[in-house]
Symmetry: C2
Subunit: 122 residues, 2 copies
DNA sequence: CACAAAGATTAGCATAGCTAATATTTCGAG
DNA sequence: CTCGAAATATTAGCTATGCTAATCTTTGTG
């Protein structure tokens, strides 16, 4: 999901992959390991260790699914949600400050270009 | 310099940091280790090892500077230049194909927005 | 000459990426 | 109902990247 670690993100103490996986859990809800690995385009063993780190840090929980105990259900904790919200606020603030330098009409032009690019790149 | 490894880059067999450092050498010319580390915003020991990899792969050379032998001069090889050019062609082609979906006026609107954002983010 | 400063490397640790091999649980065929 | 195959996750073992602290080499200076 997230693809880069920016200066504003480093305050969290988490590396990019953990932060990114956590954001999938927070904004997309609980997932199996395979689901999370697919969402992050990473192999299952790699995701196992990223989740290890999140669980150790108290940012996610891991428990076997009751229906099918081959699967694990990975879920963000409240602390994980809080950490991510703070990170997002920091990020948004940095970009918002810079966008505020543009005139209203210029900002509208940027919005329009974003729409065009989203359509073209899809 | 480069910040992400895209699908189109992986054909090179190089990871993001090596590819990125190589691009600095190719487009910016030879540099000392400290110079390259600063350009890539990475510590000197980290850059030492990235350069190790480039040299092992035959994509860069490392030699002591004759004037001041404390320094090393790191330079891209012809093979390094070739590899990077091919990667760039792949990348440019992917984006160009998608941009071709836009009408001329739309593409001009995107260009204008890029200028605005470059100014605002600086 | 002796010692400090500059520049690079080495040592040692953690995170992330991979593939191959190994549990563990579930399902299906007979 | 049992036994083997499939599904899912983890472990093992490798490489690459990131860091700081310690070291080595070269240069400059009192």
């Amino acid at each position: 999901m997230l693809r880069m670690v920016r200066r504003e993100d480093r305050a969290s103490g988490l590396g990019g992959p953990r932060l990114s996986a956590l954001s999938v859990l927070v904004f997309g809800g609980p997932l199996s390991l395979a689901g999370l690995a697919a969402a992050e385009q990473v192999s299952a063993p790699t995701m196992t260790r990223i989740v290890d780190g999140l669980v150790r840090a108290g940012l996610a929980t891991r428990a076997p699914e009751p229906d099918n105990r081959r699967r694990v259900r990975i879920e963000a904790t409240d602390e994980g949600r809080r950490l991510l919200d703070e990170g997002r606020r920091r990020r948004v603030r940095v970009v918002a400050e810079r966008l505020a330098r543009l005139a209203d009409s210029e900002r509208r032009a940027v919005e329009r270009a974003v729409e065009l690019l989203e359509r073209a790149m899809r």
